[in-house]
Structures are given as structure tokens and as C-alpha cells.
Symmetry: C2
Subunit: 266 residues, 2 copies
């Protein structure tokens, strides 16, 4: 399989229901995205929540109500079928986790695609760093913190973070490497001492899987696009659809194109 069609073949398998697993390490080099789809009545509040919290919610594209293809990220995709696993939220509660949401999709949904930190894992690995959850074949570890997001309308809540363990010197390299990718969460927001951001036990993640942390390693925390799912719990929207944590939307855009993606004009 050539690199050029890695994202297409993976998306076809996802659409066909043949791939419903976490996407870390898949289609390496292609930008992966978090999905949040909310009724248009709540779209201003959510767009503002992203604007005010760019570290956990770096917005790559907003898809208008009535549309299901992201024009810039993946014009050939369909947001109703092309995420490996979804979460359907009713009145702020998780109702189901299907692999296709065509049957429950609504024409008033505005879809938000937020950058995912899986997108910078190829550069980390290319630099010789061990990305533990990929090495172990697990989903990334994610935790709710006590860091509050800035409020916007009905949306508020704690920041969720992803964690990767590194030796202190490798944490420095990882900071520089990921800092170059602000659209997919950029540099870490914390390292070391999990208790300082309200994480009690690294072995008990709130989302995803635990991973082993070796002697001498420190946990390094990146802002995570699951943060809106924590906000959905309190916002209690009548209806919303998101991806399931770690089960991301694969875009047509490569990491090298990200800077130009923000710089480009029509």
C-alpha cells in the first residue's frame, strides 16, 4: 500500500464497517480529527468554546448544517459513516456507540472537526521516540483534569488530556517537535506530577487504556479533543454526536500541509 492511498484505503475499511478500532498509528502522517456535531441552535456556543479554548479545541474545519463532507479536509468523505466508532449523546448522556450514524443524523447538525494529537505521532516516532500506546497496541491514556476551560454559553467543564510517558530528555524533544503543530494541540500543557492537575492514578485513565511507565520516565500531558465530551455532560444538549475517544476521523491532509492549511487564502 503506497503512502498516498493509506488514508483512502483506511477510510474505505472504516466506511464498510471493517475497521472500528482506535486509529493511533494508522495512516501515519495524515491528520486525524475529533468530531463534535451539535444542533445549529448550539453551534455558536460551541464555536465560541473552541475559540476560547484553542489548546484542547484547535478547530480545523466547520461543516455547515445540511452538509456531511468537510470541503477542505476531506471533500470525498461522509461524516455519517467515516468515523470508526461514534458516540450518540441524548440529554447529556451517552446513549450508544455505533459504527455508523446515518440512521440518527439530522440536517440541523453543524459538525466541528478538531485536530487530534495522533497527527504528530509520526514525527515523534521519526525522531526515534517511543510512543508507548502505539508500541503496546493500545488506545492512548486520557484523563479528566482540574484545569477549567473558559466558558462559552452552555459549554464549560474540565480540560481532558492525553498522556505519553517519556524520559525527561525525550520530553524536551517531544515538546519542541509537537510545538510545531499547534493545529493538533501543539506543545504539552503539563509534565510530571499528575496530582497537580487533578489526576489521582495514572493506571486508571478516564478514557482509553493505561500504558506502562518505565523507571525514570515522566508522564507528559497534551490537551485533548475529548474535552468537548466532558463539556457535553454538563451542557445536556438534547442531541449530539461525537467520535468515540481514540477512534478518529482520518483526513486527506498530511502533517506537512498543516502550516499552509492555515496560511492559505482562496
Amino acid at each position: 500500500m503506497s503512502d498516498d492511498c493509506a488514508y483512502q484505503q483506511l477510510r474505505e475499511r472504516i466506511r464498510a464497517g471493517e475497521f472500528a478500532a482506535p486509529t493511533a498509528g494508522e495512516a501515519p502522517g495524515y491528520i486525524q480529527a475529533n468530531l463534535v456535531a451539535v444542533p445549529k441552535a448550539y453551534a455558536f456556543d460551541f464555536l465560541l468554546f473552541c475559540q476560547r479554548n484553542p489548546k484542547p479545541c484547535p478547530l480545523l474545519e466547520v461543516v455547515d448544517a445540511g452538509e456531511v463532507a468537510p470541503r477542505r479536509l476531506a471533500p470525498d468523505a461522509d461524516l455519517r459513516t467515516d468515523v470508526p466508532r461514534y458516540r450518540v449523546w441524548i440529554k447529556g448522556e451517552l446513549a450508544e456507540e455505533p459504527t455508523d450514524v446515518s440512521a440518527v443524523w439530522r440536517d440541523d447538525l453543524v459538525s466541528f472537526l478538531l485536530g487530534c494529537s495522533f497527527s504528530f505521532e509520526k514525527p515523534l516516532r521519526d525522531a526515534g521516540l517511543d510512543v508507548r500506546h502505539i508500541t503496546c497496541g493500545r488506545n492512548v491514556s486520557m484523563y479528566r483534569t482540574t484545569i477549567p476551560c473558559r466558558e462559552a454559553g452552555v459549554f464549560a467543564g474540565p480540560m481532558v488530556v492525553s498522556m505519553r510517558p517519556f524520559l525527561p530528555r525525550d520530553a524536551l524533544r517531544a515538546t519542541l517537535i509537537t510545538g510545531a503543530f499547534p493545529q493538533v494541540h501543539g506543545a504539552p500543557i503539563h509534565q510530571g506530577n499528575p496530582a497537580a492537575i487533578g489526576i489521582g492514578d495514572l493506571a486508571q485513565p478516564d478514557y482509553g487504556d493505561a500504558v506502562p511507565i518505565d523507571e525514570g520516565e515522566i508522564p507528559v500531558f497534551w490537551a485533548c479533543g475529548v474535552t468537548p465530551q466532558a463539556a457535553l455532560l454538563t451542557a445536556k444538549l438534547p442531541f449530539a454526536i461525537t467520535h468515540a475517544p481514540g477512534h478518529m476521523f482520518i483526513t486527506n491532509i498530511q502533517e506537512e500541509q498543516l502550516q499552509w492549511f492555515s496560511e492559505s487564502v482562496c
Copy 2:
């Protein structure tokens, strides 16, 4: 006057009606911002317009309806009095250009503050470059182009650009210097050949003043925060308030703080 209080003293003079001129070169080193205030019914469309057009509309802060102080940029300011000159728009037409909009302000206005390229003129001058409109004591030259913005709801229209003439080698330096400030328009979007972006005569700017271009210099064009004013002409909102081109809102934030402004979490 110390640098520390330059922005406060200028804003007090503006508030008192003693300063109603273009702000290029004033309170050097402090971030300046474009103002667009629209009724809440149009706020989603405008916020989305900014998200889709980050080069002309780099959003620094959104002020909720009912509030008049930008919490992060200038919590001690009042958006109704602290812009040197405003434009009041009624049904898509420019109705008046007052220096105070307290009498016409409405509680349903959501205010958007967009980064302004005046903010990176101190770094340009510190590097020894001649910023012509400051040297000449004029407003910057601004032009409507034929570059279309990406549409968002009722908002669409051409990109507006500001122009600074430089020798070709200085244009390269200016590109690197301003590229480090994406929140205030960042790197240029065009240089040389004005006709290629639909500008017929550099001596006839659509906004601001013309400036002399010396032998051997080329015009360098930056995306401009007056772009929303071109979009307001066609969107024909019942009511809107903006700054008058070149007459910017002065923030409490210094250029050195900009990167952290985007990176910070609560």
C-alpha cells in the same frame, strides 16, 4: 511617559475624545485590534467567517452580548468609548463615523476583536525597516482585492489588504519578521504586481492614505482586518458597529505576550 503606561494614557485620551486619529505608531509594542460588533442573531455567521478566513480575520477575543470589556485583552476598557473613531452601519450602509458609540450601543451586540498589522510595526522598525506610513505621518494604504473570502452564512466578499513598500531584500526580512505574528495577520499574502490581486492604482487606496513608493521598491500586501467591512456591505445587517479603518482599539497586551496568549490555559 514610560512604556508601561503608554497604552493606558493613549486609551484615556481616546476615551476623553482628545485623540481621534489613526493609531499606527502609537503605544508601540502594544497589540492593536480591529472591532466588529454585530447583533447576536448574526454572531455565529460572523464567528464562522473568522474561523474560515484566519488571514484577514485572526480572532483575538470575542466579547459576549451584554459585556463591553474584553476580559483577556483589556479588562479595564470600554468598547463603547475606547476606539478613536467608529463606523456605525445600518442596513449595510455606513451611517456615521462618531468617536463614541455609547448612545447607539445595544445589549445584543457580540463584539469581535481581530488582530491588526499595526501590532508588528515596532518589530519591523526595530529591525531598521522604514514603515512608510509612519514615517510620513499618514494612515496605512488599504485596498479591496479580487481575492474572495471563504463564505460563512450571510458573510462573503473580497479580502482587503494593507500595503507597505519595501526594497525586495527588505520584503524578505519583513516576511520573516511578520510571519512570527500570525495572530496579527502574520506573513504577507502577496507582493509585487498589484494587478494580479485586482488593485488598479496604488495611488488610490480604498481606505486610508496613499504613500510614496520609492525607486526599486515593491508593494508588499498583508491581509487586513478591514475585510469584514467589505463583507458588511453585502451582508446588509440591520445594524453593526466597527472601528474606522486605521483607528484601532489599543489592548493591554504586548507583542511579546502574543504567543503565550494562544498557548495559555486557565
